[in-house]
């Protein structure tokens, strides 16, 4: 080091050795480790069990599959009995592929409808008076105060042919005496139920993204000659994209595996993978096949999500 003659420096003292607090403090590790431990225990471990069952064969026994792990002594024998037979079966029977594709189709359409309904709501909330916003957020969350199942049952009462919707339409004269709304037990009813049930999950991330947007950006756009409708597509929408992606993922994933809504509101021909899985598990008692359906479902959902996350990280 060059000696600085201008500013006299005190003789250098040996620097005190301060240990990195993160290495000394085990509590720090505990905080980091807890969520990982949780995931290991309640996600990774059950998944490994499910995966193992998916490689087994069905059996009339308790549990209804073989082989059963009987200790490391018979490990070789146990291992040799595992195979991909169930997956081959899934690929050969078009019912399952159709179920997957239809689930993805319904999830995609529903997510699009949710965006269509949720975006204007979130935008209106974000533009509302500051004092009004907490009340509007509260109102979006309010349906959670009653059971999900009850709310879906309530839709049966509304949508069934002799239900409230028919009554309303007859009263205002849109339908004549004896005519009925015929959407219960169709895909339309499923879409209505899904959009209704998942709306808060779409609105809240959108609202969070839109609410923190700086309003002067729109003034700047207008000042530079951009009319409001154009400014929406050039400024507001691109800046809300993280919210759009978050909301879409939060809705798309569970809708793909949705069971209750298609079961209660959909028709017999509303094929969704959640329903198929339930049938295999409880009606056919084919645990290995049901497990392999679940494993494939996970793959179908995880791969696009990981891709999305990667893209977002690159963009950010």
């Amino acid at each position: 080091m060059a000696i600085d003659t201008l500013s006299p420096q005190p003789p250098s003292k040996p620097e005190p050795v301060i240990a990195d607090p993160s290495r000394r403090n085990p509590a720090r590790w505990l905080v980091v480790a807890t969520p990982y431990l949780w995931l290991l225990l309640f996600f990774a471990a059950p998944f490994i069990i499910i995966f193992k069952i998916s490689l087994s064969d069905t059996a009339i026994a308790m549990p209804p599959y073989t082989p059963v792990f009987e200790g490391f002594g018979k490990f070789g024998e146990f291992f040799s009995q595992l195979d991909f037979e169930n997956y081959e079966f899934l690929a050969s029977d078009s019912l399952y592929i159709k179920s997957y594709l239809n689930s993805l189709r319904i999830a995609a359409i529903s997510t699009f409808l949710l965006l269509l309904v949720g975006y204007p709501m979130a935008l209106a909330m974000a533009r509302a008076k500051t004092s009004l916003r907490p009340i509007l957020v509260m109102m979006v969350i309010l349906p959670f105060w009653t059971s999900f199942l009850i709310r879906v049952y309530a839709w049966i009462g509304i949508l069934k042919p002799e239900g409230l919707l028919t009554l309303l339409f007859q009263t205002v004269g849109l339908l004549g005496e004896g005519e009925q709304v015929q959407i219960f037990r169709t895909d339309y009813a499923v879409f209505i139920g899904i959009v209704y049930s998942y709306l808060p999950f779409m609105v809240l991330p959108l609202y969070a993204a839109l609410e923190k947007m700086d309003h002067t950006l729109l003034e700047a756009a207008s000042d530079l000659g951009c009319p409001p409708w154009k400014a929406f597509w050039r400024i507001t929408f691109p800046l809300s994209l993280p919210g759009v992606i978050a909301g879409s993922l939060i809705c798309f994933i569970p809708i793909t595996g949705e069971f209750v809504i298609p079961d209660l509101l959909g028709g017999a021909d509303t094929l969704m993978i959640g329903k198929t899985l339930w049938t295999e598990f409880f009606s056919s008692r084919d645990w290995p096949l049901a497990s392999s359906i679940a494993v494939i479902l996970l793959g179908v959902l995880v791969i696009p999500i990981v891709y999305f996350q990667n893209q977002q990280q690159k963009a950010g």
């Binding site: 002067t216 950006l217 700047a220 756009a221 207008s222 000042d223 000659g225 009319p227 800046l239």
Partner: protein, 383 residues
């Protein structure tokens, strides 16, 4: 660093020429927000190529006035004319004004280049022309190598330059600057102030700046309007505002000043004996034309740098002079501010330029001193 200066500036004063037509005209403008009157029946003319400053404390209505010109607010009463055309009902995106926002309002998802091009794209200019104009702007604000960066990857000073380039790219008839330098540190601010005046001069545009910083207003502008509570107190050049404020409010708002209340003893005009005041025993004579008549309560205002400070008594001690002791000293480097407590208890502020390089100044706390001033140093204010 060698700096290229713009063309030599020439004296510019269209407002003194009765034949010149104002470029922007605020005509009896009133703006109310509910019960609150932000701007109160205000009339103001701004001329082409002028660098005009709206100066006042926060809440005085200066920003509201600018936002009305930009089109973000509509006046409750009155009209705004730009080149003789009424702007009422014209939305912001159709006005030939561009604004540099206090927060800069840069689009965070666009690169520097895209930000600057935004306004030009709205005009549907051909691609090549947009590109050329963006390059020209980048060069103007010296940010060529930052074209592909996002605003979040720039420093505060660089963002300010992008905001300036973006607002200038469309060559607006009027550039509006809303506290443009507020977020910069002092050194950068001073540098930018001079760059702004150079730029305005080179481009030949009309600039309207809103600021609460009197130093900034004085450095950059041709004329300043000092505002308070929605009305204009005085419109004049920086020198006039400083040397000849028309009211106690303006005198007090701009710079440092001593204000001494007193009664008019006689008023004989500037050439024949001036205005004589009796300020509770302190006799003051000012050579000034003044509308006050004998017996009126007025204020005598004098800047600290115009107050002389001496250890020895001056030749004339009966008027414009007082004895006292040094009560406090503010050492500011280039000059020192002395607070002198006169024998009648009054505090007078006197500034002395530190023209000698001394660490220990001869005057110190408690020293007996005399203050005095010449008959043309101060000003009688009737408002």
């Amino acid at each position: 660093m060698a700096k290229s200066l713009g063309p030599v500036k020439r004296k510019f004063s269209p407002w003194t020429d009765p034949a010149s037509v104002p470029f922007i005209r605020f005509e009896n403008i009133t703006k109310k927000f509910g019960n609150f009157t932000a701007v109160d029946n205000l009339t103001l003319d701004i001329y082409e190529r002028e660098f005009f400053a709206l100066l006042g404390p926060s809440g005085c209505g200066k920003t509201t006035l600018m936002r009305m010109l930009a089109g973000f607010e509509e006046p409750t009463e009155g009209r705004i004319l730009l080149q003789g055309k009424d702007l009422a009902g014209v939305p912001p995106y159709r006005r030939p004004t561009n604004m540099m926002f206090q927060s800069y309002a840069l689009f965070p998802h666009m690169t520097v280049e895209k930000n600057i091009a935004f306004g030009l794209e709205q005009d549907k200019l051909p691609k090549g022309e947009i590109e050329a104009r963006v390059q020209e702007m980048l060069k103007l604000v010296k940010l060529e190598q930052f074209a592909k960066r996002k605003p979040s990857q720039l420093s505060g000073g660089q963002r300010q330059r992008v905001a300036l380039a973006r607002s200038l790219a469309k060559r607006p008839k009027v550039l509006l600057l809303d506290e443009p330098l507020g977020a910069l540190d002092k050194k950068l601010r001073e540098e930018t102030q001079f760059e702004l005046t150079d730029l305005q001069h080179t481009l030949g545009l009309t600039f309207l700046i809103v600021t609460h910083d009197q130093e900034e207003a004085m450095t950059v502008s041709d004329r300043i309007a000092v505002m308070d509570k929605g009305v204009i107190m005085q419109v004049a050049t920086p020198a006039e505002i400083y040397e000849a404020p028309n009211s106690r409010y303006v005198a007090d708002f701009i710079g440092d000043i001593n204000i001494i209340e007193g009664n008019v003893v006689s008023n004989q005009g500037a050439a024949t004996g001036g205005v004589m005041l009796d300020c509770d025993g302190l006799k003051i004579v000012v050579d000034q034309e003044c509308p006050a008549s004998t017996g009126d309560r007025v204020a005598f205002a004098i800047r600290p740098e115009k107050v002389r400070l001496n250890i020895d008594p001056p030749t004339e001690t009966a008027v414009n002079a007082g004895a006292g002791e040094v009560y406090d000293i503010g050492y500011l480097g280039d000059f020192s501010l002395f607070l002198v407590k006169l024998d009648d208890g009054r505090i007078v502020r006197a500034a002395q330029a530190n023209i000698q390089r001394l660490v220990d100044r001869p005057l110190t706390f408690g020293d007996r001193v005399w203050v005095n001033w010449s008959r043309d140093a101060g000003l009688v204010l009737t408002r």
